[in-house]
Symmetry: C2
Subunit: 658 residues, 2 copies
């Protein structure tokens, strides 16, 4: 580096000679009043394309043996220190401080969720194309596991409508495949958690997530129409199912339809009860009676599914006659008692499989296809959605949640459960019931076990239209129509991935739909990286020299640099004055950028036009100078430009030509 | 919008009420001395994530009929105006000003390139697995087309080593398929040009391109080893071919090997001739004799391939005997005369196809697979590389180049040519010979036609090892080892896609290799978008109020906002002072960002911690306020922070707690 006494902050690069430079780049201190010390620099971001900070502590290099030893020590410390243990076994964080208030909160919430999970489990088993008992099998053991490993108090592990639909698409309604899928998804989730792949769901944007959820809700709703009408309509996609429904609409059974629609209306009305309050809005001003009525309304509203199932079940029992059976479709016989603990099925005999041919483990896995990736990812999405909704600003540990739901699914597969996760609707119930820790899962799990042991004989008479009504009145609120308006107002281009995902999910298999949405979003990001915006301004220095200031608004990386080079050349040739590239917003560059900047420099050299860089970060200087054979000049304070122009005899030449 | 007389530049958002605001955001004017007018704003970049500029002229809205009419008028103007015509028929730009100097330059360059293209065409036909004559068939008509449509003076259309290898991989050495591939690739290129898809190659970064070129060169080199050794070794990938070579190494024919290696050595030595100059470096100081010798050295060096072929061909003729044939493999009989003009073959009879089964058009296209996309893209890449190398800062029109090489390939397919493009090695020869316009293609094309009409009988004796030597001594310099060192120094992470592409291309089919490289690069971009860097600093206002300044370094878009929210919450909770987010570098935001910022605001509200935005662009304000129900406060000048803190009773509270 040539030191220049006249201008201390100007930086001349001559090929490979430069090493270190001292430049005042602490922008915050320049702008933000009297700085009183840095908190820590917060460099947890991507280390790519980033301004290296001065003053970082760099460890002295170690020999290989030392390195290995210290790595082993570090790894040992990492594995066994208190913080990691608390992170990986979150129960250790809250159990020592568990209070009686926590116990009451968890008990109430656990029982409320339990009253919701039993009817939902019966219903969602239908979405997965399985006998209703399998829903209950997947609703208790996973919760017990989550108590140990789960980091989020509001998550109630169990079947969810979306995951049930994905299970149906991957396992085609075979219980053996569903249970194997549960095991395999659990393993995939666990591995993803261990390898920290939870960040993948960051790439599902809000609009894509809304489009996906809305489409899934419509498909689930559609799949339940057949139960309401008492007809049979099979199909994988939205369009297929509706075509089947219209073909079979002549076979509609009036009693099923009347019961189903009545149940939907009743449920929607009961849903409004918790928000109907008598007396004043402020609890303290109400009389004891008013408070009890309000609490009662809340309980009835929250436990509406359980109440409806009990009422309809009793009705079914009363209307049942030995001769004519029941006037509407009922759930039928459910094997009593807890499921046996056994290995998940790893092969199908010829009479177990749908096509009459025996299937090996490989065949079963192959038939699940992309479901093995999609089910874990969507499970995580739904689970994290609960965590975020009620986190109150605390950060959510996606990896730990993956480990927790993965382990829960692995255990569930040994009691013939199908894949589950934290279901959004029950998460809301859990939170509203005042849950304090994940321990509430114990109570809801226990309630499910009680139901399995003592109540299965009575489940016989539960009408199928009632279960369909429970599903429909839950998913109808998941169609996110409301989100379109603010999206349209805030950023119209975000509607493209959103609506694209929605329609793609309706007409294609779900995994394709969400992939298309993510793909559209990735294209937006790539386009954004490839086409930065340059603003150009013709300015004058204090001595009256005109120059062209070109300001790119983001990093110079490979898809954009050629474009930038073209634009800079174009504008520069048009003006023929010295050009300054303001690199204040350029926070990163790569090797391709360096080579293209080198071409740009030689373009300017050939034209004998001057090119300076203003405010180029030292870390980017360092990248450019490795490639650049041509001299390039960087300055960091405005007044230096005049000196530079003088030095390059620009002033003189300007006068000569004038 | 609530107007606040005390602080004119502070912006309060209350839900959906705000409309317009007047804020001084002209940063360039603040920094850059006395601005003397804007050149045009240069808003040609992506319109996504971009600061909208004030003062833009917006057309008044028109009625639908008016719109249609004006669109038609515009379209008409666009199609027929002078500028578009000049853009789409570049010959109109240079032909009217064509001078005698241009004519001489083009003639010399055309003949020099012609002397290079004839031996290269013969050799590259071998890479494509075709009889040598096909190389010549593809080397004249395309050039004539390029004269009309080509926008870059240095591009010599014809076979290239890389495209020949890709042709071999797609057409498996069948001439019918190669010719059909030529037609289809031409159509794909033309369509890509018309639809402006040339930008796709922007996503091939320097390192990926280097890795790909190096791997292809090694594969081509490997494929020629068999000719040098006089053995037969077939295979698609690097590893396969080497395995075959080692299996057959016992059959090596000494005469072929000796001739081949001698040719390589001679070529490498002749290659150095143009840089060997006698006399002074400055031409003017040299005597006439010295100048003539220098020119002669240059000509011998540049026409080395042609000279070597002529010498070896003559040698083959002399060594030929009726009884024993020639002591080394020769090219053999070539049909004399120009190729017939006919439709490209669109089906194969059973004795034409390799597997003995008749193939329809569909079968042929299916067997080419991804070659139909890869060949056009790589052709464009090589072509644009020439344009950029000699453009001297002029911008390169990728779309026009696609149209030109597409049309050239379509025409070539009617004279049984295989896919071609501007070959990098001949582009350099063209430029060094002083080419002035694309017209030079006429002369090289004419030379090829002369060779086809008069010289084919003499081509019989050209030794195959000589052609292999020509290829090897050309591609050996395309292995870009030199680029590794500056890449390592400038940006080590760029070695990952580079070396990844290199090895992937060696062991996998080429299209997979380059896709893996591009994929790795895209992952870098996405990671970069997902993990911005936040710098945090604990600062004090002039009145001594402490606050935490958090500065994210780039756009807030969906993969990163949750991460940003977590980090902001974490640092804020640790400090418990008012927090300011400095949004100077935040040039864009999307709907997901808006919803997450809304959650962030409510996190802060629940904690009763203050959160302000500093320097948030009005366009981003507009996005946030569509989603945000919570009030958020933006200020644009430093001194306003104290007023804001006062207004929010922070000062008072601070004193109370103290």
């Amino acid at each position: 580096m040539k030191s220049n006494p006249a201008s201390d902050h100007v930086y001349f690069n001559d090929g490979f000679k430069c090493s270190t430079i001292s430049i005042n780049t602490n922008i915050a201190e320049q702008n933000g009043g009297s700085g009183s010390g840095s908190v820590g620099g917060g460099s947890q971001g991507s280390k790519e394309f980033i301004l290296t900070e001065d003053g970082k502590k760099v460890k002295p290099p170690l020999s290989t043996i030392e390195c290995t030893r210290s790595w082993l020590q570090d790894a040992g410390k990492r594995t066994f220190n208190r913080k990691t243990l608390h992170k990986r076994l979150p129960i250790l964080r809250w159990l020592p401080h568990y209070s009686s208030e926590d116990a009451i909160g968890d008990l109430v919430a656990g029982i409320t969720v339990g009253l919701t999970v039993i009817p939902q489990a019966l219903a969602y088993a239908g979405i997965a194309g399985l006998p209703v008992a399998y829903g209950l099998y997947g609703s208790f053991l996973g919760g017990f596991v989550y108590v140990m490993l789960g980091s989020c108090k509001d998550v109630p592990i169990g079947p969810s409508a979306i995951v049930a639909l994905l299970t149906y698409q991957a396992a085609q309604g075979s219980w053996q495949k569903s249970v194997l899928l549960c095991l395999l998804c659990g393993i995939v989730e666990l591995l993803m958690g261990v390898f920290g792949l939870g960040f993948l769901i960051d790439f599902v944007s809000g609009p894509v997530s809304s489009g996906f959820t809305s489409a899934v809700s419509l498909i689930i709703l559609t799949s339940q129409i057949q139960s309401i009408l008492g007809i049979s309509a099979k199909g994988n996609t939205f369009v297929e199912i509706w075509r089947q429904v219209f073909q079979n609409i002549g076979n509609t059974r009036a009693s099923d339809t009347i019961l189903g629609i009545t149940c939907i209306v009743v449920l929607l009305m009961m849903r409004m009860l918790p928000s109907c309050k008598i007396g004043s809005d402020q609890q303290e001003l109400n009389s004891r009676f008013q408070r009890i009525v309000n609490k009662l309304l809340w309980i009835i509203g929250t436990a509406r599914n359980a109440i409806l199932v009990i009422v309809c079940c009793f009705m079914g029992y009363l209307l049942h006659s030995e001769e004519h059976g029941t006037p509407f479709a009922v759930v039928g016989a459910i094997p009593a008692g807890l499921p046996s603990i056994q290995l998940p099925p790893i092969s199908l005999s010829s009479n177990e499989s749908s096509n009459g041919e025996a299937q090996s483990f490989i065949d079963m896995v192959r038939s699940m296809g992309s479901g093995l990736i999609v089910v874990p990812l969507i499970s995580l999405m739904e689970n994290i959605a609960i965590c975020k909704a009620f986190a109150n600003g605390k950060s959510v540990d996606a990896s730990q949640e993956l480990i927790a739901i993965g382990t829960a699914n692995i255990f569930n597969s040994f009691v013939q459960g199908f894949p589950g996760t934290g279901a959004l609707s029950r998460g809301a119930v859990n939170n509203a019931s005042g849950v304090r820790t994940p321990l509430s899962n114990i109570y809801s799990g226990a309630l499910v076990m009680v139901a399995l042991v003592f109540l299965t004989p009575y489940f016989y008479f539960i009408p199928r239209p009632t279960l369909a009504a429970i599903i429909i009145s839950a998913v109808v609120f998941m169609v996110e129509v409301k989100v379109v308006k603010p999206m349209w107002r805030a950023k119209k281009s975000d509607l493209v991935p959103g609506i694209g995902t929605f329609f793609a999910c309706l007409v294609l298999p779900l995994e394709w739909g969400i992939l298309i949405g993510v793909g559209l979003n990735v294209i937006f990001i790539l386009y954004h990286a490839a086409r930065p915006k340059l603003s150009t301004e013709l300015l004058s220095t204090q001595s009256g020299n005109e120059y062209l200031m070109i300001t790119p608004d983001r990093c110079l990386i490979f898809p954009s640099v050629d474009y930038v080079r073209n634009l800079v050349n174009k504008h520069s040739m048009r003006q023929n004055v010295p050009v300054v590239i303001d690199a204040s917003h350029v926070y990163g560059a790569d090797f391709t950028a360096a080579t293209v900047i080198e071409s740009l420099l030689s373009d300017f050299n050939k034209r004998e036009q001057l090119l300076f860089f203003y405010n180029l970060k030292p870390s980017i200087c360092a990248i450019f100078e490795q490639v650049s054979a041509t001299q390039f000049v960087v300055y960091y304070e405005e007044h230096q430009l005049d000196e530079l122009l003088k030095k390059h005899h620009y002033e003189q030449k300007r006068l000569e030509t004038a």
